[in-house]
């Protein structure tokens, strides 16, 4: 017996929540991305060419889109959970006849939707001004979904583990931000020294960005199928950890 409508309602509530503050949740990331494009793109466009025939500004777009997708997916589930915990209103979801699966799917799907919305808006804003091909659209969609779902799950983990906004900010600033900045958004893995190339290969965000970029340019540092497999395994591992925490009721049901 499943509570489909309950799960849908929790998903809808999470979506309504971020749509009520679109300036913060959609517009701000789009403006930040445009600033990145202006600063990095304009400053380095003349000096850097990573893939043959692809100028640096165009190279940046998919990476920045993916960075926004994953950061916003993480922000959605983590901030919603920590706010509900701090306010105490998490109790209304805890009292409802929802399974851990339903809770997980609702929160992750809402996080995905926010991440994808930000990604799509960024694309729509820059698309009229730049020439960005879309060689493998299904790979773009697949990596966007895998990345946003993974970070949505990570957001649940961070929201569950954190007891204060402070702790969540630490997770965001010391884990998510470095991993996303060091994921090849602004550079190709091949342009790094060998040691850093090796270290970067342990960063799962790198495979999200690299595979996503392949979907646009049909160029990548790593075989996109390997990236797809790694991203899928990463999502499965995070999902298992999240479901385990929720099943245990860790810091939610004492």
């Amino acid at each position: 017996m499943s509570n489909w409508h309950g799960m849908y309602t929790l998903f809808a509530k999470e979506v309504m929540r971020f749509l009520k503050v679109t300036i913060q949740t959609i517009l701000t990331p789009v403006v930040t991305t445009l600033l990145y494009l202006m600063v990095f793109g304009q400053a380095l466009e003349e000096h850097v060419q990573i893939f043959t025939g692809v100028n640096y500004l165009n190279f940046l777009i998919p990476g920045l889109m993916m960075m926004n997708i994953i950061q916003n997916a993480f922000a959605n589930s983590s901030s919603s959970l920590i706010q509900s915990k701090m306010n105490g209103n998490i109790i209304f979801v805890m009292l409802a006849p929802l399974s851990v699966w339903e809770f997980f799917i609702a929160f992750t799907a809402a996080a995905c939707l926010r991440g994808l919305m930000v990604g799509v808006v960024v694309f729509l804003v820059v698309w009229p001004f730049l020439e960005i091909p879309l060689q493998h659209p299904w790979l773009v969609v697949a990596f966007a979904l895998l990345g946003s779902a993974s970070l949505g799950a990570m957001g649940i983990i961070a929201g569950v583990l954190s007891e204060k906004f402070d702790q969540l900010a630490a997770f965001q600033n010391f884990v998510i931000l470095p991993l996303s900045f060091l994921s090849g958004v602004f550079y190709s893995l091949n342009s790094l020294p060998e040691l850093w190339q090796g270290i970067s290969r342990f960063n799962p965000f790198f495979y999200m960005v690299d595979g996503f970029r392949y979907g646009f340019f049909a160029h990548s540092d790593v075989d996109p199928m390997i990236s797809l497999a790694i991203c899928t395994v990463f999502l499965l591992v995070l999902s298992l950890i999240t479901l385990g925490l929720l099943h245990k009721g860790y810091k939610l049901r004492h």
Binding site: M1, L98, H254
Partner: protein, 305 residues
């Protein structure tokens, strides 16, 4: 008929603290049940185990025959909880919150019942207001509406009148009584003992994680047999008979306070004895034992050696 709430040998351990030590009792369908105890006695832990918010270390608890762990969906469908704290989601209006809460319980198109709840709780004109803009009393009423949105047969009111004004307290009492008359099982925890005395059919008193009393209100009150008689006399000098003199606990000019065993001593005989001793009665006041005396006697902490 199976119990509305069945609690079996519930233990809860927080580290080295034993919050509940084998609590066991039933709450029958349709009862207005009081759960009393001093702060830190374990009431909230027990309520939270009932609601699935806390997991028991051992033992079992079922609501309307559904185990809160194994049959959590049905158990939660059967239970409405009004939390003690005024908690709310600041993103939504009252109506949105009630619609969301209905949805969590799998209910679509619940607007008729939501409208009825809003009207009953005098919230109709606040339906589209954000929770942040409501007074404390209104927020409390919204919490009740949220707990009732799925029409649960068992309603838990955890300190519902803490910090609310007299008018709202009366209103909440009337609402709880109406729900009780409609057949709902009500579980009330409160610090106001007169509230439990006025509303509850049966009362459990928890102290230090243990059940120290479980009885009907009348039986609990009968445990305290002493009542207090205050006499105001016209004159100050009166010599009572020896048998009565030893019952005097206070003698202040023309005011006489006696502590009497109501099962043994008859007020009429006492008044006759006072008058026979030359006392001219101006006024009298009888104070019957209340739940507070029983509560104090059962939960008094022995001083540590």
């Amino acid at each position: 008929m199976s119990a509305a709430v069945s609690i079996r040998n519930i233990h809860k351990q927080y580290g080295s603290l034993q919050a509940l030590k084998g609590i066991e009792f039933d709450i029958q369908p349709g009862e207005f049940f009081g759960l009393l105890g001093p702060n830190g006695a374990g009431k909230s832990t027990l309520i939270n185990i009932m609601a699935g918010l806390v997991r028991a270390s051992s033992g079992s608890l079922s609501v309307m025959g559904h185990d809160v762990v194994g049959g959590y969906r049905q158990a939660r469908q059967s239970l409405g909880v009004v939390p003690q704290e005024l908690v709310y989601d600041p993103f939504f209006s009252v109506r949105e919150l009630l619609r969301l809460q209905s949805g969590y319980f799998g209910l679509r198109n619940n607007d008729d019942w939501i409208d009825e709840l809003l009207e009953t709780l005098n919230l109709t004109d606040k339906a589209d207001a954000n929770m942040q803009d409501l007074s404390g009393g209104m927020k409390r009423r919204v919490l009740i509406a949220q707990a009732m949105v799925h029409k649960p047969p068992v309603l838990v009111l955890d300190e519902p009148t803490a910090g609310v004004d007299v008018e709202l307290r009366q209103h909440l009492w009337e609402f709880a009584c109406r729900l009780h008359q409609q057949g709902h099982t009500i579980v009330l925890t409160t610090h106001y003992l007169e509230e439990a005395e006025a509303l509850c059919d049966r009362i459990a008193i928890v102290n230090n994680g243990e059940l120290v009393a479980l009885d009907s209100k009348q039986a609990l009150l009968a445990r305290c047999a002493e009542r207090q008689l205050t006499l105001t006399l016209a004159d100050t000098n009166i010599r009572l008979p020896a048998g009565l003199q030893e019952k005097v606990i206070e003698h202040d000019s023309n005011r006489l306070v006696l502590r009497l065993d109501k099962n043994v001593m008859n007020i009429g005989e006492i008044l006759a004895a006072v008058q026979a001793s030359g006392g001219q009665l101006v006024d009298l006041h009888i104070e019957e034992p209340g739940l507070e005396e029983v509560f104090m006697a059962l939960t008094r902490r022995e001083p540590r050696a």
